[in-house]
């Protein structure tokens, strides 16, 4: 890429430099030319004045003296001087060759028309033509012409142009070299990043880019973004490892129970029939338990991977909620817990199967973690969202644990859960489901006072709208 940069620099630089140098050269040329024109015109006017003053259209002596003067001026200035009378006839010529000829050229015509001009001819020669005015009669009695070659100007301009080009070329080369080396500064951090990425890809998830506090720019921003991404990657990997170890632990526990029970049965002699039935019942329970865990796990993973597409349908939330509460009332009654429901008529687009599971989890937990007291379930809404709350007067959740409860297999009190027979995945599933509905879930809790779970579900799901279209 450094070569590309260099070539680009040359191309971008060359164009403007070329235009600039041409423009400058033209200006220089014009400056010199204009100067020469002024000089010629000045000289011509001086001569015209002198001719006006002395009357040598008729006086031979004056003519003689003046032609000496004309020759000297012409040699000094390196140009050609001619004087014509009013009929266009050349009466004086510094080169002495055109005397007596009639010059009916544009320059003479201009002067006889009382125009003082200085200009450049087509062949590059610079000329001036000024009228000679007779002061007494105010008539134009002749013209003064001066012709000069522009060769010396051209030569000078060429020399300057050569020097100019040389310098500019030198500058271009220096800039090119400088850019070549400077581009290293830009490419280096990118190469470093590439190295770190390669190390990460190889498996070293702890690879990070060096953060510089100095001179933050887009490239260092990429470095920071990369580091963040690597952090997340590492975290995900860690959580994967934790998850796997969690799962194996969860499954191991019922398996060891089963083993214990089975061993007991096989090694014991003469056990009464009731004992066999009890042990086998226990084994069945453990198997059921493992099965539930695996099912929940599968659901959770599928939810996460969005393998199960959610089917959003317009649902009467009031009926939906009251059904859940009705279903779980026996459970509450078994523990002598008072469960109430308060709601209003709300229609929302939800996947009723999955959301039912999610809300049921919340209510079940509320019942599970309350020893005595009550569970209150409410349904409210505004024009955009439905608000579901599940409040209990149970043991509460310590503040330090409140942000971890939605993690998989997380249990505040491990011993308790074994008793109540959960999988430890309930809140994870609820959390995922609510998020899939574009909603949110929050918990307010105080230890030994109770917990309240607040769930917000948007009434309209954007995907449904698109499908409708």
């Amino acid at each position: 890429m450094r070569w590309l940069l260099l070539i680009l620099c040359c191309i971008i630089g060359f164009g403007p430099i070329f235009i600039f140098s041409r423009a400058t050269m033209t200006s220089v040329n014009n400056y010199f030319t204009a100067n020469r024109q002024k000089e010629l015109m000045r000289q011509a006017n001086v001569i015209a004045d002198q001719v006006s003053g002395s009357d040598f259209f008729t006086n031979e002596d004056n003519l003689e003296y003046f032609s000496e003067y004309l020759l000297d001026t012409s040699i000094q200035g390196g140009y050609r001087i001619m004087i014509t009378d009013r009929t266009g006839m050349v009466i004086m010529d510094s080169n002495n060759s055109e005397k007596g000829k009639v010059y009916a050229i544009q320059e003479v015509i201009e002067a006889l028309n009382n125009k003082s001009v200085a200009n450049v001819q087509n062949n590059g020669n610079i000329y001036t033509a000024v009228p000679i005015m007779d002061y007494t009669s105010s008539e134009i009695i002749g013209s003064v012409l001066i012709f000069s070659s522009a060769a010396d100007i051209t030569d000078t301009v060429e020399v300057i142009r050569g020097l100019f080009s040389f310098i500019l070329l030198g500058i271009l080369i220096c800039v090119g070299i400088a850019i070549f080396f400077i581009s290293k500064i830009f490419v280096k951090p990118l190469k470093e990043l590439q190295g770190v990425i390669n190390r990460l890809t190889d498996g070293h998830l702890d690879s990070r880019v060096k953060e510089t506090k100095v001179f933050r720019n887009e490239i260092t921003d990429i470095g920071s973004a990369f580091n963040e991404m690597a952090d997340k990657l590492e975290k995900i990997d860690d959580s994967r490892q934790i998850f796997v170890s969690n799962v194996s632990h969860e499954l191991k526990t019922p398996l060891s129970s089963i083993k214990v029970l089975a061993d007991s049965i096989s090694t014991a002699d003469d056990l009464p029939k009731e004992m066999y039935i009890e042990f086998l019942q226990d084994i069945t329970n453990e198997v059921d338990r493992m099965s539930n865990i695996i099912t929940d796990l599968l659901n959770l993973v599928r939810l996460d991977q969005k393998e199960l597409p959610l089917k959003f349908e317009a649902t009467d939330l009031n009926k939906f909620m009251s059904d859940i509460v009705k279903r779980l009332t026996p459970l509450a009654n078994a523990k002598d817990i008072d469960i109430t429901y308060e709601g209003k008529n709300v229609m929302a687009e939800i996947d009723s199967v999955k959301l039912s599971l999610a809300i049921s989890n919340l209510v079940e937990n509320a019942i599970k973690y309350t020893d005595e007291g009550k569970v209150t379930v409410t349904l409210d809404s505004d024009h955009q969202n439905a608000f579901i709350t599940v409040a209990d007067t149970g043991i509460g959740i310590p503040e330090s644990e409140q942000n971890k409860i939605f993690d998989r297999f997380y249990r505040v009190d491990k011993t308790r859960d074994r008793q109540t027979g959960g999988t430890g995945l309930g809140l994870s599933i609820t959390h995922s489901t609510v998020l899939m509905h574009n909603g949110s879930i929050k918990v307010l809790s105080k230890e030994n006072e109770g917990s309240t779970f607040l769930v917000r579900i948007p009434l309209k799901h954007p995907y449904v709208l698109e499908n409708d279209k």
Partner: protein, 327 residues
């Protein structure tokens, strides 16, 4: 039997084919020839019938010509036709009439030497301005001299010749006398000077002087012009040239009275050689150059470098001063 029959036919056929070819070729030649002759004649006629008539450019500050067909059986008629064209508008829209409205061609005649005399008259009695008059005169001269039988124009006004500011008459004007294009003007100052040129005498025993008047640019080194004249050779038949004609002067500089002359290698290679010839060559140059004011010595260089010897006889690296040669 069949063969013989075919052969006969074949011979006949070839003969007829050849004949046809001859006829066709001849026909083509005749057509081409007549076409060429026709064209040639036509062009000649066309040339005769076209005249470059000079009008004014739209700015009215310089002349531009336009090709016009002219008619007339005699020279007078042709001139009359041309004058008539001049009095009217040009065909091209970017050109303007060059003869003022109040000018009338009263009379004209052509003499045996190819000069046409034209007498003008101003219908309103007013003379045109100087610049208008100048352009009109130029247009007349250049238009009429475009005709092959005219080489000069003499203009009079009501019988009187035109008087220049100095009092002299402006008489016959040819194209040489009347310039309408400034492109040929030499811009460098030129002056006529006299130079002394030293050439070899008839028996090659010494040098003789030839005086010449040449046109030079006073701002350039006179030595360069002198060398050029030496290379050209003598005009006098009794003198002999001393410098090979292929010699080129590469550079000539005068510093502190010393003239540094840089000559091309032809100066050495094309020289015939021989000690006396060498001396004659060297001193013809040295004496000619030192006769110029400001030059006392001459230093020779060949292709920019000092040489130890010229053709083997003379030490060429020294600075030469003028010397009378007796060989």
């Amino acid at each position: 039997m069949e063969n013989g029959f075919n052969n006969n036919n074949r011979e006949d056929y070839i003969e007829r084919k050849n004949k046809a070819i001859y006829i066709i070729v001849t026909a083509i030649v005749i057509v081409l020839a007549s076409f060429l002759i026709n064209n040639f004649q036509a062009r000649k006629e066309v040339e005769k019938d076209i005249c470059n008539v000079y009008f004014l450019d739209a700015s009215e500050e310089f002349l531009k010509s336009e090709e016009r067909y002219i008619s007339g059986d005699s020279e007078e008629e042709i001139v009359a036709n041309v004058l008539e064209i001049l009095k009217n508008k040009p065909i091209s829209e970017v050109l303007v009439q060059s003869i003022p409205e109040n000018v009338e061609f009263k009379d004209y005649w052509i003499d045996s030497k190819g000069t046409v005399y034209i007498d003008l008259h101003f219908t309103d009695g007013k003379k045109p301005k100087n610049d208008v008059a100048l352009m009109a005169r130029a247009a007349l001269v250049w238009t009429l001299t475009d005709l092959e039988f005219i080489n000069g124009v003499c203009i009079t006004i009501d019988g009187d010749p035109i008087i220049a500011a100095g009092g002299e008459y402006i008489g016959i004007l040819t194209r040489d006398d009347l310039v309408i294009d400034a492109a040929e003007i030499i811009t460098e100052p030129l002056d006529e000077v006299t130079v002394k040129l030293y050439f070899s005498n008839g028996d090659s025993t010494g040098l003789d002087v030839e005086i010449r008047r040449i046109i030079v640019n006073p701002n350039q080194e006179l030595g360069g012009y002198v060398l050029t004249e030496l290379i050209k050779g003598p005009v006098d038949e009794n003198l002999k040239p001393t410098v090979p004609p292929e010699t080129k002067v590469l550079d000539l500089k005068v510093l502190d009275g010393v003239c540094y002359v840089d000559l091309s290698s032809d100066f050495v290679t094309k020289h015939s050689g021989g000690t006396s010839e060498e001396l004659l060559t060297i001193y013809s140059i040295v004496n000619s150059l030192t006769s110029i004011e400001g030059i006392d010595k001459v230093q020779f260089l060949i292709e920019g470098e000092k040489q130890t010897t010229f053709k083997g006889g003379v030490d060429f690296s020294i600075q030469f001063t003028a010397k009378d040669l007796y060989l």
